[in-house]
């Protein structure tokens, strides 16, 4: 009897544990419904969760009405340049539709966001609407028929039309079947900027050739100033810088375009540019610690802290350049590289870089269709587009932009880009995401001289070749 007194409570506890497990097994949907955004989004995450809880309660007591739950995912979270412009309008939209829609906003930092979407793709749990990259980045999703042909969206929308967008903006989202699977939001321009006061302080002229860059760099190095704040961590900003240099060589533009259709990466030009980068490292032009000072923010910070004289950046970083530094910055052409035939002052990298994609299944779901449509109309609206331009975004949509609300550096960029020919970068034409990743990680290796220029080109080519098998 005494023995049983111990056994029965113990068995009961075991049963409770077993029941708990069963409950865990059924929690799949509950977890999904109450999913919170990342910690950077704690504020909005809490609001979302509260709303979802309310929705769940409403469902339980049968008062849910016609409310539809939709999930919107983006990397425009807290810490991103667009957050301050996007979030207030999103909240407004949410408030306007609170009786008909429960919107879960999922935001993550860019690199985590890419992985999150890939994982969700694999688990069949894609958000209903999400911002994403085109080209090789969306290929798997297009191949699997997960994304909506945006012509279907434009046909259904009374507010947004395909003609509202710049010519050619859809190219980045156009798949091999000729259909576009994304609504382009952001276009961009790569700029090479120089610190006017540092050049003035050492009485230096902006370099126009590589030889001049070498001389200027020597002076800066002697004065403990990093000549070029360009590192490589996860391929940023090195990857776009590599493409910018690449475009100076004969046939380079065609080679970059050809990548999308199965062209080769391992070209004479690729090795040549990689050799120039290695020479830049040897000449002490780049930060000694390219890994720790890599990434968009890391590289830019050296420049904005006036520890570096020049850098290469994009408008999505303009939010992080102080007004004083915007005033103190001059956009200059990248010096012409040895053997280059294209005048760098005649070109600027410019391309569609980001947009909005729609989960095909959600759009075709009669219960969700109207909510998804309304959400897309909001994300592609003139109002939001205009607001986002204040962060430094160049819109793909034809909207009137109030010049007074733009940053000084954006004015300078627009002026500089006026008479330039737009060129592509490898990022937008690489046929697959793994090739982009390999280019990024191999550039990191090249920047610390762990591999040779030839090995760099071979590693990227190996991925392209493997994908052709």
């Amino acid at each position: 009897m005494k023995k049983n007194h111990k056994k029965w409570p113990a068995l009961f506890m075991a049963a409770v544990l077993g029941t708990g497990l069963t409950a865990c097994g059924n929690a799949g949907t509950a977890v999904q419904d109450t999913e919170q955004p990342d910690t950077a989004q704690a504020d909005s995450g809490q609001k979302d969760t509260e709303q979802q809880n309310e929705a769940a309660e409403a469902e339980n007591d049968g008062s849910a009405g016609e409310k539809v739950s939709v999930v919107l995912a983006t990397n425009w979270g807290e810490g991103d340049a667009k957050y301050d412009y996007f979030y207030p309008l999103f909240e407004k939209f949410q408030e306007e539709h609170k009786d008909t829609m429960d919107i879960t906003l999922q935001t993550y930092s860019t690199e985590d966001y890419k992985t999150k979407i890939k994982t969700q793709t694999a688990s069949g749990d894609l958000p209903d609407v999400f911002t994403y990259w085109g080209g090789g980045m969306m290929k798997d999703m297009v191949d699997a028929g997960l994304l909506l042909n945006v012509d279907d969206y434009f046909a259904a929308s009374s507010d947004v039309k395909k003609e509202d967008f710049e010519d050619g903006a859809f190219a980045y989202y156009t798949s091999g079947d000729g259909n576009a699977y994304g609504i382009p939001i952001e276009s961009t321009r790569g700029i090479f900027i120089a610190n006017k006061s540092l050049f003035g302080q050492y009485d230096l002229a902006y370099p126009t050739t590589y030889e001049e860059l070498v001389e200027v760099s020597k002076v800066f190095r002697e004065n403990d100033i990093i000549p070029l704040a360009i590192g490589s961590n996860g391929g940023t900003p090195s990857e776009f810088f590599f493409s910018e240099l690449y475009n100076q060589y004969e046939g380079a533009a065609d080679e970059i375009s050809a990548l999308a259709g199965g062209g080769s990466f391992h070209t004479e030009n690729a090795v040549k540019v990689a050799e120039v980068i290695v020479d830049m490292i040897d000449q002490g032009m780049l930060p000694a610690d390219t890994m720790a000072n890599g990434g968009w923010t890391g590289s830019l910070q050296l420049y904005t802290d006036q520890k570096a004289a020049m850098t290469y950046t994009y408008p999505w970083n303009f939010e992080f350049i102080s007004e004083e530094m915007q005033e103190n910055s001059e956009i200059i052409p990248i010096p012409q590289l040895p053997g280059a035939t294209v005048d760098p002052s005649s070109i600027i990298s410019g391309f569609t870089v980001y947009g909005l994609v729609i989960n095909k299944q959600s759009f075709e779901d009669a219960a969700k269709h109207d909510a998804v449509l309304a959400l897309c109309d909001f994300l592609a609206s003139d109002e939001l587009t205009q607001e986002l331009t204040k962060s430094g975004m160049i819109p793909c949509k034809k909207v009137e932009v109030n010049a007074d609300e733009q940053k000084l550096i954006m004015h300078k960029t627009i002026d500089y880009a006026k008479d330039k020919t737009l060129v592509q970068v490898h990022y937008t034409t690489m046929p697959s995401a793994d090739a982009i990743t390999m280019m990024d990680s191999s550039l990191d290796e090249l920047f610390i001289k762990a591999i040779t220029p030839e090995e760099f080109a071979q590693k990227v080519q190996a991925v392209l070749d493997k994908n052709k098998e």
């Binding site: 077993g18 930060p287 000694a288 610690d289 890994m291 720790a292 990191d444 610390i448």
Partner: protein
Amino acid sequence: MSSKKKENLFAAGFLLPVFVIYTVFLFLPLVNTAFYSLTKWNGVTDKVFTGIKNYQELFYNSDYWITFRNTVKLVVITLAIQIPVGLLLAYLLYIKTKGAKLFRTVFFLPVVIAPVAISLMFSLFYNSEIGVFNRILEMMGLGRFQTNWLSNTKTLLYAVMAPQVWQYIGLYVTIFLGALQSVPEELVESAEIDGAGKIRTFFYVVLPQITDFTNICIILCVTGSLKAFEHSWIMTGGGPGVRSAYLGVYMYKTAFVNSDFGTGSAITMTIVALSLVITVLLKSISAFRKE
């Protein structure tokens, strides 16, 4: 129902939850992973059975072998540093060092801090432009050792290993301290009366008494190293390339960043195999020592 049957039923009742947990969350996913490792699968389109092709490709993949070597190096270094240092610090605390309570807390503190926070802190320390590590070296007159810790192929891997090795020493200090406190005092006293010095007492009396704890620490150390991920991922993303990646990081990058779930699963299976080999090896050594 006979008493034996009842006993068996009770035993089964207690074992069932564990059995279910292991089957559902460990065994079945492992079988699934083994199957995925024999396919070409990007996580979206249909899986294509390719046999052992993923393993063959891994065998000729230099990146895989770099991460394999990195993982083995981590196992060796953690074993060589964490266990002896943990034991030494625990022994110092055990022999009633002044301020032992304070030191005990200080040693254990890093263990409870999130690896993400530690990793971020170390990446800032290492930064040659804004970090304090090179400055400290300079102030100590060791300026010649200054380097770009995360951008120098010779220091990169060890710079990434260092925070992980440092962070978990406190765990072993705690385990060893508990073990040392369980050694009967009369044993130590009689050894000392017999004229054994502190060092001989430690090696010939104390150490044999805590063999089981040492084995536990070794297993924790090895398994912790084999599944190492956070420090490498946060500090360098496993890069440049895969030069500071361990097998776990390489698997994650392959499966979740490159969407190559087939190869990612094959890497996972090799981690499982490596873990099994090391476990069997450790068990054999332990059994041999007992004999």
